[in-house]
């Protein structure tokens, strides 16, 4: 993992600096997470009145569960789709805003605003917009002959949730790209221009490498977001259907655990989900971070 060449010399200071975050993490995250992991080895009733230790039974059942394997592939498609769409679109916007000096603030405000919209609302809004009866989008699509129904067509459902999830993430990515672009020194871009490089070339040879730490941050966060935070959208719009075609892993965890109150199996699923994301992140740090220029 990357680190500075030169560091400060201090024995206790780093620990003191880390203490607040570490302590809170330990108490409010690690300890409950360990309990959740422990729960994944149990079979118990929701109220916790009785529990039986069942070793890895909750895990082995996942392997044979066709709907779980389906969830894996659906999640993969979804995560890749959302990350790709939202990162490219937001980068495009950020670069444009960087150019448009005077009206930059206006555009930035407008483009970040959707992120502020409560998740409670955005689910509802997407439901309205794509509603086969009263929605605008199906109406327009009907005019060109396409019968949109995400309740029956699996493709429609996946497209819908990718759009809905990316929409929110575009605002998020955009904001950080803009912040990142601010720290690209003018002198460098000017020097490149003097050397005769056009704007596109300047971007890829000078700007993007300097933007790569931000891009790396966003890539990791986006994938994590797609895996975890998209729950409210799916809940509001497709409920994992039709026929499980949008039943991403975290939704399955939620449906089984929160709603179905099968705590053991749901805990097992979330442990597996956590391991998948950890693996993905380690992979990214190992291989992708090499290309990042600090």
């Amino acid at each position: 993992m990357q680190t500075k060449r030169t560091v400060f010399q201090a024995r206790l200071l780093p620990y003191a600096l880390l203490a607040p975050q570490l302590i809170i993490t330990m108490i409010f995250f690690v300890w409950p997470a360990l309990q959740a992991v422990y729960q994944s080895f149990l079979r118990e009733d929701p109220f916790g009145l009785s529990a039986k230790f069942v070793w890895f039974q909750n895990y082995t059942r996942l392997i044979g569960d066709a709907s779980y394997l389906n969830s894996l592939s659906v999640t993969f498609v979804f995560a890749v789709g959302v990350t790709a769409v939202s990162m490219t679109v937001s980068l495009l916007f950020a670069v444009c805003v960087n150019r448009a000096l005077k009206s930059g603030r206006f555009y930035t405000t407008m483009l970040v605003w959707p992120y502020a919209l409560a998740p409670a609302a955005s689910g509802l809004l997407w439901w309205f917009m794509f509603n086969p009866s009263v929605g605008l989008i199906p109406y327009v699509l009907n005019l060109v002959g396409y019968d949109w129904n995400h309740r029956l067509h699996e493709g429609d459902a996946m497209i819908l949730i990718i759009i809905a999830a990316s929409w929110k993430q575009i605002s998020y990515n955009f904001l950080f790209f803009v912040a990142g672009l601010q720290s690209v020194p003018h002198s460098l871009t000017e020097a490149a221009a003097i050397d005769g490089a056009g704007p596109v070339k300047r971007f890829w040879t000078v700007v993007f490498p300097l933007l790569s730490p931000t891009a790396f941050f966003l890539a990791v966060i986006n994938i994590t977001y797609a895996m975890f935070d998209t729950l409210p959208i799916i809940d509001a719009v497709t409920s994992g259907g039709p026929s499980q075609s949008t039943n991403i892993l975290v939704y399955k965890v939620y449906a089984d655990g929160f709603i179905g109150l099968s705590l053991g199996p749901s805990a097992a699923q979330s442990v597996v989900l956590m391991l998948i994301v950890v693996l993905l992140t380690v992979v990214q740090f190992r291989w992708v971070e090499r290309k990042v220029q600090y």
Binding site: Q2, T3, K4, V7, F8, A10, L13, P14, Y15, L17, L18, P20, Q21, L22, I24, I27, F28, F29, W31, Q39, F93, C96, R99, A100, Y107, T109, M110, W113, Y115, L117, A118, A120, A121, L125, W126, F128, M129, N131, V134, G135, W167, F176, A179, Q182, S183, H186, T189, P199, R202, P213, I221, T224, L231, V250, Y254, L263, S270, L273, V278, T281
Partner: protein, 282 residues
Amino acid sequence: MVENRPFLSFLTHLVLIVGVLIVVFPVYLAFIASTHGPTDFMSGLVPLLPGDQMMANYGYLLGSGESTAGAPPFTLMLLNSLWMALLIAFGKIAISILSAFAIVYFRFPLRTAAFWVIFMTLMLPIEVRILPTYKVVADLGLLNSYSGLVIPVIASATATFLFRQFFLTVPEELMEAARVDGAGPMKFFRDILLPLSRTNIAALFIIMFIYGWNQYLWPMLITTEPHYYTVVMGIKRLANVLDGDNQWNLVMTGVILAGLPPVLVIIFMQRLFVKGLVETEK
């Protein structure tokens, strides 16, 4: 800009305008919904132009607050959410920037382990650890309290990760110069690193504020007293009509009202987006 290319400028603006139109369309729709009556949305194509119920709807919500049935008035919920959002934003940024500083600028045993432990907070969804976390909070006596609402939420890794990325890009010369001048780590942090981080802090503040502002599940779970109600809880409560008659228009009015303070934060924070910071320090 470096050179004047009108075509590119035109294209830039075009992309942005189209982008804004598409991205802001759902928000526009929410606004439209808030100006109509409750049933205008279900009986045909969703209307695209404002209706005439704007004063009625907004007045109703902001007024007595009895619209949310026992929940405190809307203005009180807005204040509550504001307080939570500020606490969470400040808290998160404060502890994360210190942690990132420690991880990047020092070498000590367990450094990598500490980073990964912090980082793991992103990896386990809240829905799964919510029962055990509730128990921890209850055992510590933090139910129905601001501490219980805020502290468990501020340990996330996003901010730490971002600051880490940023600190790694800060040139080594700055730090060496500071050391040569005899400045200790905290002086370096305060006088050099912090100002440099301004843009990132601003961006994070926006995100964290909005995150704290939109809190729903956790406050719903650990509070039973109405004066801890957040604004999104109020909106959800309006919408939760089970078999009955959904008042979409009031829900959307609530959503728009709830969305306004974050917009102010976004506008305000952009002042800290200053260009070319790194090079002026040279």
